[in-house]
């Protein structure tokens, strides 16, 4: 078999290994095996590539690989567990710069047609953004740079200008590849763009950004693959590019955000968004709520008359158990007037066999409400009506309430924005950290439980 065939067939095998590896990485039981498989694929791809006739001199390769392996292995070994995310960012940046360089090297090829130049441009652009973006992310996470969003007046304008300039350079580069200026300019602009994209983003959102940059580095490799006409780069690169996007979306959801919100919140877009929230009460789907609950360490359930109407007590108990199995602390906060008769909630929760020890009185729960990741308000309204606490003019002002709004997030499960027994509007529903999950409480809770089945 000609070497070229051997190499390419091996590439196919490597691609299969990458695919399987990625798939297995998605489930806890198989993740480690998946990583091994994908590493095996990489090894195979690298080894067979060395057989390529185009490669004549192995010295430099050896040098690069030895240095790279030592540095990579040491970094991976020595990094503290807590510093892993920034390490990933750094590695990712290196992947980006490598793709940039591969694109550059591709310019040395004898025939340069427009398509090839375009792909070279793309690998440089994406590789460059990935590189500097990842470096900034790394800097923010390792606290070499300030973690807070760095913003300035006209930032958006600058970014748009950068992008346009870069595209212009790209065009020039493709049209006039002999002039190295365009190349250098492209590199410089791409690097700047990477920095500009990441600095306005806060440290807490970095994981999402890293995931996005990871997707970019896949795309850079893919572009480089086109530039040097290499299948495995295209396949592996686009796999990573696509799965990275999906992962980014999943991570955003887990943070109860959209990608747009993550990328642009630094620009004060967040302020605008929260204004909107103030206005109408933000709805959330049960699926999205799941991602938040899945990550929660402590949850307080605040039941009200709606739980009784929906006869949701049994599924609430189920939800409690599912959350507990997930390693989350769950307690119930029972307001004395919740429901329509004294002890209404007790009757129902006893029926569902909720342990008495989990039922906390209002006075016991309120002081520690801040420590809860999520407060799930199930068909309650008046008993969590912040107007009773904050609005002197409210008819129920002075009635003690359960301060659900002090929890980090509040999910309110009810069918509509309708008021409760007292017939009053509830400011809680419009709170910044509140999300309405509309629908019959039993059905909603059921959906949440279902989401927990991986």
């Amino acid at each position: 078999m000609p070497t070229i065939m051997l190499i390419n067939l091996s590439y196919i095998v490597a691609a299969v290994l990458f695919i399987l590896g990625l798939k297995l990485l998605g489930s806890p039981a198989t993740a480690r095996r998946g990583n091994m498989l994908s590493a095996l694929g990489m090894l195979l791809a690298v080894v067979v590539t060395l057989l390529d006739h185009a490669i004549i001199d192995y010295r430099w390769i050896l040098l690069g690989m030895v240095i790279g392996s030592v540095v990579g292995a040491l970094a991976a070994r020595l990094v503290a567990m807590t510093a892993m995310p920034e390490m990933v960012a750094l590695f990712n940046g290196f992947g980006g710069i490598a793709s940039l360089l591969v694109g550059w090297v591709a310019l040395a090829q004898p025939q340069l047609d427009n398509f090839l130049l375009l792909t070279v441009f793309l690998s440089i652009l994406i590789g460059g953004v990935t590189f500097t973006g990842s470096l900034v992310a790394w800097g923010k996470l390792s606290e070499l740079l300030p973690g807070r969003p760095i913003v300035f007046r006209g930032q958006r304008l600058v970014n748009v200008a950068l992008l346009l300039a870069n595209f212009a350079c790209g065009a020039m580069f493709v049209l006039d590849p002999q002039q190295p200026l365009w190349l250098y300019l492209t590199i410089a602009l791409s690097a700047t763009m990477g920095v500009m994209t990441v600095i306005p983003i806060g440290g807490a959102d970095m994981p999402v950004i890293i995931s996005l940059l990871n997707s970019y580095s896949g795309l850079a490799a893919c572009a480089a693959g086109f530039a040097i006409n290499n299948n495995i780069l295209i396949v592996a690169g686009s796999l990573v590019g696509a799965s990275g996007i999906i992962l980014t979306r999943i991570m955003c959801k887990a943070m109860n955000r959209t990608l747009g919100n993550v990328l642009f919140s630094g620009f004060g877009a967040a302020a605008a968004a929260s204004d909107k929230i103030e206005g109408e009460g933000t709805a959330l789907s049960a699926e999205d709520a799941y991602y938040v609950l899945e990550a929660a360490q402590s949850v307080v359930i605040i039941p009200g008359y709606g739980m009784a109407v929906a006869q949701a007590q049994h599924v609430v108990k189920e939800l409690q158990e599912v959350l507990q199995q997930n390693g989350c602390e769950v307690v119930y906060a029972i307001h004395p007037v919740a429901g329509r008769m004294p002890g209404h909630m007790n009757v129902l929760l006893a029926e569902a066999d909720v342990s008495y020890d989990l039922l906390l009185e209002m006075d016991d729960i309120n002081p520690r409400m801040e420590t809860f990741d999520v407060a799930i308000v199930i068909g309650a309204n008046d008993v969590v009506n912040t107007a009773a606490r904050d609005t002197i003019s409210s008819p129920i002002f002075g009635m003690p309430i359960i301060n659900a709004d002090y929890a980090r997030s509040v999910f309110v499960l009810k069918r509509s924005m309708a008021s409760g027994f007292a017939g009053l509007d509830n400011p809680l529903f419009y709170g910044k950290n509140s999300r309405m999950i509309f629908g019959d409480a039993k059905e909603t809770v059921n959906k949440l439980i279902r989401e927990f089945s991986t």
Binding site: A308, P336, M341, P342, H344, P395, I396
Partner: protein
């Protein structure tokens, strides 16, 4: 210095007490001087020493309490002679039954007592913590079921056993207010099949929220007052209701009636005829027996047998779980006093504009200040 006096209850064998040592402690802590009659909490197992530990003075003589008191706290209405012993301007908080006790109210007015009637606490969300009608009715709902179960010649839950299947008993609750709902919940807990009826349509959802079923009877327009109380029915409506229920009652092992009309005589809902259609050994509990009765033939304060059907009209329902009943009533009183307590002057401040006091303060400064009652007497 404000003296708060708590006399023993003298009424029908009610073991409740108006103040528990716990709440006495809170009152003294707030700066009041508390005077209790000896033996105050004996019925619930609270000894005099506990009150003393809580900072109260124990008085051997009942008279002393009334003469000293700036505030009197008690469960039942005062005796006519006791009113005369009170200082003018004393605040007197207890059940009063002002709709039916015109004479008593006038006596209080004439003595210039500020009398607060616990029945008249408005049913608003904010006032719930002082709402003794609710707290006591809730216990009553539970107790009525327990008493009925104790008398029934059957058991409530279903049991499928090798010795045959026992069908679940049927319980029918008429009037699903606070007491009715708690009765429903308790009977459901014990495994009965529970049905309920009420003239207020909003209640259907509440009944179903406890897993019971609501009996639908078409009796036309009904409605409820602003305070959430039922409006009285026309005679035709009452007949319709009686007919609509008859079947359900005949099938039931236990019937519990809790229908009340705020400030009026309760409606008669279960007739002699209907009772005759029930299985011997069945039980009816008439919560309203003492105020007129929902059930024909019920005797206030007694349990009678009618054609083999036991009719419980013993009343004083919350007296059975007297320790919990006292705790709740005492909490209600304390919450009321605390709400209007002036921490600096250490005294109870009567604010005629406050919506809760406007509802429950009957006499003040020598006048009947309560508009509802004034209208009622007029």
């Amino acid at each position: 210095m404000t003296w708060i006096a708590i006399p023993n209850e003298t009424g029908p064998a009610d073991k409740r007490t108006a103040m528990t040592p716990d709440n006495v402690g809170k009152l003294t802590h707030a700066g009041a001087e508390v005077l209790v009659e000896t033996g105050l909490g004996a019925g619930c197992g609270y000894h005099d020493e506990l009150y003393e530990e809580a900072g109260a003075r124990v008085a051997g003589e009942r008279r002393e309490l009334f003469e000293k008191a700036d505030i009197v706290l008690r469960v039942h209405k005062p005796g006519a002679n006791e009113i005369a012993q009170l200082k003018k301007g004393t605040i007197h908080i207890s059940y009063l039954d002002p709709f039916n006790e015109k004479r008593l109210v006038e006596a209080l007015r004439d003595q210039r007592i500020s009398a607060i009637s616990m029945e008249m606490i408005p049913r608003t969300t904010r006032a719930q913590k002082m709402d003794a009608l609710s707290s006591q009715a809730s216990l009553a709902g539970y107790v009525m079921v327990i008493q009925a179960v104790n008398r029934l010649n059957r058991i409530l839950p279903m049991m499928m056993t090798p010795s045959g299947t026992i069908k679940p008993a049927k319980v029918f609750v008429i009037g699903a207010g606070v007491a009715g709902l708690q009765a429903i919940a308790t009977a459901k807990r014990l495994g009965a099949r529970v049905t309920a009826f009420d003239t207020r349509a909003v209640v259907a959802e509440q009944v179903e929220s406890l897993g019971a079923s609501f009996l639908k009877i078409n009796i036309g327009e009904t409605g409820q007052t602003e305070d959430g109380y039922a409006r009285p029915l026309s005679p035709e409506q009452v007949t319709k209701q009686q007919q609509g229920q008859a079947d359900e009652i005949a099938k039931s092992d236990i019937v519990i009636t809790t229908a009340q009309l705020f400030g009026r005589k309760p409606p008669l809902l279960v007739t002699r005829n209907t009772i005759g259609s029930m299985q011997p050994g069945s039980v009816i509990v008439d919560m309203a027996a003492e105020t007129g009765g929902n059930v024909e033939g019920s005797v206030p304060g007694e349990t009678v047998d009618l054609d083999g059907v036991t009719i419980i009209g013993s009343g004083n329902w919350s007296g059975q779980g007297c320790r919990d009943a006292s705790n709740m009533y005492s909490n209600n009183l304390f919450n009321l006093v605390e709400e209007y307590w002036n921490a600096e002057q250490k005294s109870f401040e009567v604010d005629l504009n406050d919506d809760i006091l406007a509802g429950c303060l009957i006499t003040h400064g020598g006048e009947i200040v309560n508009t509802t009652i004034r209208k009622h007497y007029a």
